[in-house]
């Protein structure tokens, strides 16, 4: 009988390995439901197309918004699509959190010797996000070409860094919104409202005035989901300080949302519902 007296260490590589295995298995089983797979792919394409058409119609009527011309807006649009991919692909289980908490099924995540947040999120990988990613990358490349920006290694690195930054903000917003379910019953609304807010990410935050700008920058940081990070890529010399602070703020904000989420788990434990 081998009783484990020594607690073994589970580091980053351990979690990466586990995630990879779950992902592969999950994809395999998703492929086996072919009709489901095809329909959700079509649905994803339609959603993206309709979003894009709305965007085009808008620009037929307003050739520029607050100094942003068509191709810069397109860049922002593509940027936000790519930045929203990770939250869609890897953190989609947040949408199920409140059901699991209310039914009591959530307790199963507390019995394994791994991080509860990781275990919970690893259960769902949403393939639909990949369509959005392809769409977003396409838009980004097209806009980049028409703006006529130089393609340098530095610019590419900036782009990747600030895309990651932007996604951290969106993930954090959804973590905060989802974790409210540990305290309040009507948390579904909070999530839906936050998810709606993401549509504002497609527009330059400079169009919002006064109080809204403050709210979307510091309270619900939607402006960081595309606007500030993309400024750093589009025009590094003229970008505001907030753009350059974004990566650190993103990490901080994500960390806070994780802590908030885990605090919710603790609170859930205490009530033991």
């Amino acid at each position: 009988m081998s009783t484990n007296t020594v607690s073994r260490k589970r580091g980053l590589s351990f979690y990466a390995r586990i995630y990879k295995k779950i992902l592969i298995q999950d994809l395999k089983s998703k492929m086996s439901y072919r009709a489901d797979f095809i329909i959700s792919t079509i649905g994803m394409i339609m959603t993206n197309l309709s979003g894009f058409v709305t965007f085009l119609i808008l620009f037929r009527n307003f050739p520029s918004i607050n100094g942003w011309d068509y191709h810069h807006m397109l860049f922002l649009y593509g940027f936000s699509l790519v930045a929203l991919t990770p939250v869609q692909c890897f953190f989609d289980n947040n949408w199920n959190l409140r059901f699991q908490v209310q039914s009591g099924d959530f307790i199963k995540y507390c019995f394994r010797p791994i991080n509860v947040f990781f275990y919970f999120m690893s259960e769902v990988f949403d393939v639909k996000g990949l369509g959005q990613l392809a769409f977003g990358v396409g838009t980004l490349v097209y806009a980049w070409y028409h703006i006529g920006m130089e393609v340098t290694v530095l610019r590419i690195c900036l782009l990747i860094l600030f895309l990651i930054t932007a996604s951290l903000f969106m993930i954090a917003i959804m973590n905060f919104a989802a974790a409210t379910c540990f305290w309040i019953v009507g948390s579904g609304y909070v999530m839906v409202i936050m998810f709606r807010f993401k549509d504002f990410a497609k527009y330059p935050a400079s169009i919002f005035s006064g109080i809204f700008k403050v709210i979307f920058t510091f309270i619900i940081p939607i402006a960081f989901v595309a606007y500030y990070p993309s400024l750093a890529v589009l025009d590094p010399c003229e970008a505001p300080v907030l753009s350059w602070c974004a990566p650190l703020l993103g990490i901080l904000f994500f960390w806070l949302s994780y802590k908030f989420w885990m605090l919710g788990v603790r609170k859930y434990d205490f009530t033991g519902s």
Partner: protein, 312 residues
């Protein structure tokens, strides 16, 4: 004999908000600090030896699952001490969970869309089980139950019985020192119940795993447990052998009579208060008794008596 679990004077209180009725009341509740304390577990002390199968019983809401949650490290006791495999569960939840397995009735903990074997492989990685230990365990499973039909089936396609079976196998996979089974046979048919019971017995004797079984099915208790612990309203009211339990209400017998209409009538009789012969004679005055049986009181009846007695 080393103990798998030691609990000393464990209490658990919950703070519950005093809710008020109506819209006005719910707005008041938002800001109210008007809490009352509810004791879910009161001063429970318990020692469970390695390799034991313990029946942990009590009526609904008695505090069973609160105790289990404290032992698994999900809840922190308000006062008292708990040691599980020498670890304080709440302080070292991760370390504790390496050495326990948990099955919660109808809530599967397996990956819904994955075939069972893939769930096993993931668990093997999560618990860092040695390749050889893992293969030995699968071999042991094969010898105890017919796992071939379910091994490559996704959990979502399984029947309730197959799912329960899978969950139990998954809980034992990393060879934990203690396995908690909460209502493992709920909703299962007779033959499946039997299969599950013999599997638990087999795993317990092969691996010397301590099993904490909470159930409302006295069939489980009779088939598996030597010792039972009963709690009611948070307090331990019984902790002893199952044989002793019967002598606890030893003066009770079940009298079964087949009357002239061929129906069997049952009566639980307290011999210290009633005379069996007298009852039979009185019956006979009314109706002809064709057949008679006098039986030991069943575990189920005893437990019922205890629950009823305790809640008075």
């Amino acid at each position: 004999m080393e103990n798998a679990i030691v609990m000393k004077n464990v209490c658990k209180d919950f703070k519950v908000l005093n809710r008020h009725e109506g819209l006005k009341g719910s707005i008041r509740d938002l800001f109210s600090r008007d809490y009352k304390t509810v004791s879910a577990v009161k001063d429970v002390s318990l020692e469970i030896a390695k390799g034991e199968i313990i029946g942990y019983l009590g009526p609904n809401g008695a505090g069973k699952s609160t105790t289990i949650k404290m032992m698994t490290g999900v809840l922190e006791p308000t006062s008292g001490e708990i040691l599980v495999n020498g670890v304080v569960p709440y302080k070292e939840r991760t370390k504790n969970s390496e050495n326990i397995g948990v099955v919660f009735g109808q809530r599967s903990q397996l990956w819904w869309s994955l075939p069972l074997i893939e769930s096993f492989k993931l668990l093997r990685d999560i618990y860092m089980v040695d390749k050889k230990d893992y293969e030995d365990m699968i071999e042991l499973y094969r010898s105890l139950v017919d796992i071939e039909p379910i091994l490559h089936k996704p959990v979502r396609q399984m029947s309730l019985g197959q799912r329960t079976l899978s969950d139990i196998l998954a809980a034992f996979l990393h060879n934990p020192a203690i396995v908690f089974l909460d209502e493992p046979t709920i909703g299962l048919d007779v033959s499946m119940k039997d299969k599950i019971r013999s599997l638990i017995r087999g795993l317990n004797s092969e691996k010397n795993t301590t099993v904490i079984l909470t159930t409302h099915d006295m069939g489980d208790v009779d088939a598996l447990c030597k010792r039972i612990v009963i709690i009611d309203k948070g307090s331990k009211i019984y902790d002893n052998d199952i044989e002793h339990l019967k002598s606890y209400f030893g003066n009770y017998r079940t009298l079964k009579m087949r009357l002239s209409d061929d129906n069997w009538v049952e009566e639980v009789i307290d011999e210290s208060k009633q005379d069996i012969m007298k009852i039979i004679m009185e019956r006979q005055k009314e109706q002809k008794i064709k057949d008679l049986k006098l039986e030991e009181i069943s575990t189920e009846e005893v437990i019922k008596k205890i629950y009823e007695g305790a809640s008075k």
